[in-house]
Amino acid sequence: MNSKTAFYIFKRILLAILTVWVVITVTFFVMHAVPGGPFLSEKAVSPAAQKALEAKYGLDKPLLEQYVTYLKDIVTKFDFGPSIKKRGRMVLEIIGDGMKTSAKLGVIAAVIAAITGIVLGAVAALRRNKFIDKVIMVITTAFVSMPSFIMGSLLLVLLTTTIRLFPANGDEPGGLVLPIITLSLYPMAYITRLTRSSMLDVLGQDYIRTAKAKGVSGPKIIFGHALKNSLIPVITYFGPMLAYIVTGSLVVEKVFSVPGIGRAFVNSITGRDYPLLMGTTIILAVLIVVMNLVSDILYKIVDPRINLE
């Protein structure tokens, strides 16, 4: 790594921090601007109780002061505060619990999606317009266009009740198989299509023809030249995709009763659980920013011609 690259990475990290700060600031003020509040419920609490609760969570202070305190606690103590709705639990603890499952699901699903996607995409490209290519394209088109709640519900009905192959809740052994499959189908199909078109593009390049003319063996052309070069769009897609599925998919969590982070995120919005909402948003933002950064760095490794400047 030369000094130019190091400087570039340093610049990108600074930019990433700035992005996360903007996300925190915007979320914080928008969140407080939305009508409602954490202590609203169907059965009203007394004004005295409301007042006491606001004081307990510092919500009685001016908004700007709350904002400064919040930032200070995160930066200096890495303290995301307590959840308001889940009394007695800390935001980091809730995020940690949810991430344990979501990360496991997400990483496995992403890896499966990447491997099968690249393999199927390469096969389709090499067998262009043959029967196998058409089958792969039809299937991937279906998976790309089918929303995960339909796919999930379909798998749930088919494989947990009609044929009792898998359990229907994430806590039983094997309960994570169906959620992983559901989560991986869309990115898998997407990666297949990306790899196919990018590989077709690469296979038409002059250097492939040159390699062929020089008598380089088939597998060497494919794995040594074509595949490697056709992975750039896949890498661009893979980073943010990983961030998205790792931070949880509410739909898949609901359909298969999996204790991930997605539900905590959505409930924190509907319940106006400000600290939890901020915490989950920040984690999501950091993950996406980091993944984007990693993809950019990976470009350089895959394709040295790319100038990071």
């Binding site: 409602g36 109780a49 006491a52 393999v119 229907a168 609901k254 359909v255």
Partner: protein
């Protein structure tokens, strides 16, 4: 390439084998159930959810508990108390109850349960500092007014005030109420009245982890995988442990009804407390012995903003005349909805068409149903006839009433100058379907009602502030006494969504109250809401003669319904599925489910 494929295949095979090993369970002494997603808290004082109350009722033991007698009838019996005593009236009209704790009561960590644990728990739950949703459940206890007194800014006036309850010795609790309360025993069986120990709850996260969760009931919490499953097991230290049949209960945490049904169908869960509306009919047919519908004390209704202007300007009515006209119009519109259609075609869960606000399930002192004696009408119960064959007549009556106030075009059969209404509901398919039905009914006579949906928290805020003309609403009882449906409509109540006595309505002197026939020196003609309804509720709360008290509560409902601001649609039901192998299960009218006496056969 082949290697990769082989690897993939191998991974799939391993996954398949791991699931094939899933055992089918249903040991005779353990049960897996799913009520809802994770409760926000399992602290008895803070919990306000029905599923949380079910869990807490298994984990804690209060002075009283819900039980079934030999004939299967639900009764409240003594639990931690030796007996449920009668109160002794004091010279100042307050009533004192003295309870003695049973011998051998233990916390799950082995320490003794003392009278002070109860007194501490009650003061904690009632305090503004804790801010519990159900703090107001202590409003009957002497001293509560001082405890919750606050100045205009919400600051407590007496920060050190305590309830009039004391631990006379280790085993004796003395508690004084403002006056005798017929539902006091039931309150004692309510989770917010359960004991907690001071040293345990001083750790604010005590109720989130089995290691710190110390309870005194039939079960102890042994595991809690957050958002996944809570496991509770029989507490050998519990005094009545010999009566508890079920050894282990696993409460799975899911709020997806389709997922619940899948887990019920494949035999994993033995009880699920939710069924998707669009599958109700099929499931009822497929599982006739396992699909259950039971009553739940609650009413689904539509409320009007009392200050909403609905009269045509050219009528020129003001003040009392205008209010009376509005009441008549609102009551007429309530007749235009076919409640049987709503419950059969939209609700589909066996709900009961409602013609009164106080829900089905509440009983008069003589044991008859409160809602059946409401409205004082011949031939039907409640404030309007909701029989199927009465609908057409109701609809025509309503039209005739509206013709008095609005221009009606006979040719098209439509009103031409009815102001546009707005119907506010919280985002949900079910509420939307009902809103659309109401809209269609009104559109039939030329009344335009726009539908507006808001996300839950925003909706609560808007409704509470009174920024709406008509809104969807619902109320579930906390205890078996009609007052919990009536005291919410006093001017100062935090649940007064209709805005009675607020804004312009504060000065509308359109109501009358005459209680002289019941022995009270109260007679108001053309009084404001504060002078009539608020006085009536206050009278009910201080009334010690149960017969008179119920008559007063009927009067309160009469007055409330006369405003037309409350348009009840149906009484709630609780739909759940329970495996036919489970015996000994029961639930109470508040929706709490009891598994301790269950056995699983087969």
């Amino acid at each position: 390439m082949k290697k990769i494929l082989a690897l993939l295949l191998a991974v799939l095979m391993v996954l398949a084998i791991s699931t094939a090993c899933t055992k089918k369970q249903t040991g005779a002494t353990s049960i897996k159930v799913c009520l809802s997603s994770e409760p926000d808290t399992l602290d008895p004082a803070l919990n306000s959810a029905v599923d949380g109350a079910t869990l807490i009722s298994h984990l804690f033991s209060g002075l009283a508990k819900w039980s079934q007698d030999d004939s299967g009838k639900l009764v409240i019996v003594a639990d931690a108390a030796k007996e449920l005593v009668k109160g002794v009236e004091n010279a100042d009209g307050t009533v004192t109850y003295t309870y003695t704790l049973r011998d051998g009561l233990k916390w799950s960590d082995g320490k003794d349960v003392t009278a002070n644990d109860f007194v501490f728990a009650w003061n904690r739950a009632a305090s503004a500092a804790l801010g519990a949703d159900y703090g107001y459940m202590f409003e009957v206890v002497d001293g509560y007014e001082e405890v919750c007194a606050a100045d205009d800014e919400g600051n407590p006036v007496n920060p050190d005030a305590k309830l009039n309850a004391k631990a006379v010795d280790e085993k004796t609790i003395e508690v004084t109420l403002y006056n005798s309360v017929s539902y006091w025993d039931e309150l004692l069986a309510f989770p917010v009245y359960f004991p907690v120990r001071e040293d345990v709850v001083s750790n604010e996260s005590w109720a989130t982890d089995p290691k710190t969760y110390v309870s005194n009931g039939a079960y102890t919490m042994t595991a809690w995988t957050h958002d996944s499953v809570i496991t509770i097991e029989k507490n050998p230290n519990y005094v009545d442990a010999d009566q508890v049949k079920m050894d282990k209960i696993e409460f799975y945490l899911s709020d997806d009804e389709n997922n619940m049904v899948a887990n019920f169908k494949n035999g994993t869960w033995q009880l699920i407390d939710g069924v998707p509306t669009n599958e109700m009919a099929t499931l009822q047919k497929e599982y006739p012995d396992e699909y259950k519908v039971v009553g739940q004390i609650g009413t689904y209704y539509v409320c009007w903003n009392v200050n909403e202007e609905i009269l045509p300007a050219e009528l020129g009515l003001t003040g009392v005349e205008a209010e009376n006209a509005k009441a008549e119009i609102r009551n007429a519109i309530a007749l235009m909805f076919d409640r049987n259609y709503i419950v059969e075609a939209i609700g589909q869960a066996g709900q009961v068409p409602a013609s009164s606000f106080v829900a089905m399930g509440m009983t008069n002192p003589d044991g008859s149903e409160f809602y059946k004696t409401a409205g004082h009408n011949d031939g039907f119960s409640g404030y309007y006839n909701v029989a199927k064959d009465a609908f057409e007549a109701n609809f025509n009556t309503a039209k005739e009433v509206l013709k008095k106030y609005y221009a009606f075009d006979e040719a098209s059969g439509k009103f031409t100058n009815f102001p546009t209404l707005n119907y506010l509901y919280n985002t949900s398919e079910g509420h939307k379907a009902i809103g659309e039905y109401l809209q269609a009914q009104l559109a039939g006579v030329g009344i335009t009602m726009k539908l507006e949906n808001q996300e839950w928290n925003t909706f609560l805020n808007t409704r509470k502030q009174g920024d709406y003309s008509i809104a969807r609403n619902g109320w579930l009882a906390d205890y078996n006494d009609p007052i919990c449906f009536l005291d919410m409509w006093t001017t100062a109540s935090g649940n007064n969504d209709v805005q009675f006595g607020k804004g312009a309505h504060a000065n509308v002197a359109a109501y009358s109250l005459d209680l002289t026939d019941l022995g009270y020196d109260i007679k108001v003609e053309n009084g404001t809401w504060a002078e009539t309804y608020d006085v009536l509720i206050k009278t009910i709360k201080s009334c010690t003669d149960n017969e008179v008290r119920y008559q007063l509560m009927h009067r309160a409902e009469d007055l409330l319904m006369s405003t037309g601001c409350i348009c009840p649609l149906y009484f709630y039901t609780d739909t759940f599925m329970i495996s036919k192998n489970v015996k000994g299960f029961f639930c109470n009218p508040l929706g709490y489910k009891y598994f301790m006496y269950c056995t699983v056969e087969g």
